[in-house]
């Protein structure tokens, strides 16, 4: 910090990056919810920047940072407390009108399912059959063996190979 006060940008950025963990720990100890920890981190970093002239190099940096982080955490809790007291909470209404995932997340998961189905369709017939019967329809080995006319050992080997092929295709690793 002493170097940062003198204007050393690299030391400053490293110091701030290293400070994030401590700020989060302090905010968590103050009782800030996990969702809001990052807001406290940002507020604290901005305050640190604004009051960096108050740091005395002969004293502990962690104590200095910790005091600022604790204050920002309390500010966050207070403002959230105020907002919560103004907002209406109706659990029943929330249950009846569930807020579905946002559109992009829904599209993304649909596309993922689509890609998986395409990949299964492109598998060799024996492997595809094994995945469909055992994986998708969740049949037992003996049921699947009866339906497909293959023995259980062959089904197991095919399922294993199919899963390996799919894994390779999606994650690019054998």
């Amino acid at each position: 910090m002493a170097a940062a006060q003198a204007g050393d940008r690299r030391a400053y950025e490293k110091l701030l990056a290293d400070s994030v963990a401590l700020i989060r720990a302090v905010a968590r100890r103050q009782g800030v919810a996990p969702d809001h920890l990052d807001d406290v981190v940002q507020e604290t970093l901005i305050t640190v920047h604004r009051v960096r002239q108050t740091y005395d190099p002969s004293r502990s940096y962690d104590a200095w940072l910790g005091a600022i982080a604790a204050r920002r955490a309390i500010d966050s809790l207070r403002s959230r407390g105020r907002r919560d007291s103004r907002e209406l909470h109706d659990e029943f209404a929330l249950d009846r009108h569930p807020d579905a995932d946002d559109a992009s997340a829904a599209t993304e998961s649909e596309q993922r399912a689509q890609r998986l189905h395409e990949a299964i369709a492109e598998l060799p017939p024996g492997q595809r059959e094994a995945v469909e019967q055992l994986g998708l329809r969740e049949r037992s080995l003996s049921e699947a063996a009866e339906l497909t006319g293959r023995n259980t050992g062959a089904l197991k080997v095919n399922l294993h190979r199919a899963l390996k092929a799919l894994r390779e295709r999606f994650h690019g690793e054998p």
Binding site: D38, V41, I46, V51, T54
Partner: protein
């Protein structure tokens, strides 16, 4: 609303771009001394105008007033020091207790003055008009002294704005009361003491109400 590590990095980059060298804040003791220098200058001005004679004569006649005056000076110094110390993040909150001994001496010794009318019926007692002058004096001097402290503290980072504001009010009210000692024309009595208490309370309360807002922006 929530930020991820990338946005932390973005913020850190931006702050890094803004970075300019800063002059480190002087230690709280030195900053207190700077403020006291102004109070001392005011005291010197008043002493030149009124002379030390009347004050010393009064003190010789009523030692408890001298103790009250000393208590006020100690309170002013320790409250200002505590305010400057607490404006530095990471200093212990226990600093806020520093002005307590001085304040006890100040209030205790002035309280003895309350009995003056019974103890020494001959001493000159303040009338209502003079008490109003005291009130104006303390409030009039406290405003610029408080304003200077607020400006100085805004350079630092008072994380407990209201506590800092109370200390500012106490420091400036005590300093004004100390200055008043120099040109006080009479001994303290119940009415006078009440006026003092009123003035000090007003200064402290106004600071607490306003200072919290003035300081928290810093």
């Amino acid at each position: 609303m929530t930020a991820d590590p990338q946005s932390h990095q973005a913020l850190i980059d931006r702050l890094g771009t803004d970075l300019v060298p800063v002059r480190r804040l002087l230690p709280p003791g030195l900053r207190t001394a700077g403020w006291l220098l102004l109070v001392a200058a005011l005291a010197a001005g008043l002493l030149m105008h009124y002379g030390a004679g009347p004050m010393l004569r009064r003190w010789a006649a009523t030692p408890d007033l001298a103790w009250a005056g000393i208590g006020a000076v100690i309170t002013a110094i320790s409250a200002a020091w505590a305010a400057f110390a607490l404006a530095v993040p990471g200093r212990r909150a226990a600093w806020a207790w520093l002005p307590l001994p001085g304040a006890l001496l100040w209030i205790g010794a002035s309280g003895l003055g309350c009995l003056r009318t019974w103890l020494a019926p001959g001493t000159e007692v303040a009338g209502l008009q003079q008490s109003a002058d005291c009130l104006l004096f303390i409030i009039g001097f406290s405003i610029p002294l408080s304003a200077l402290l607020v400006v100085l503290l805004r350079r630092a980072c008072p994380l407990r704005p209201v506590l800092a504001a109370v200390l500012i009010g106490l420091a400036s009210a005590a300093a004004s009361a100390s200055l008043l000692e120099i040109c006080h024309a009479f001994d303290s009595a119940a009415t006078d003491l009440l006026t003092h208490a009123l003035a000090v309370a007003a200064v402290v309360a106004v600071n607490a109400a306003m200072g919290g807002r003035l300081l928290s922006k810093a």
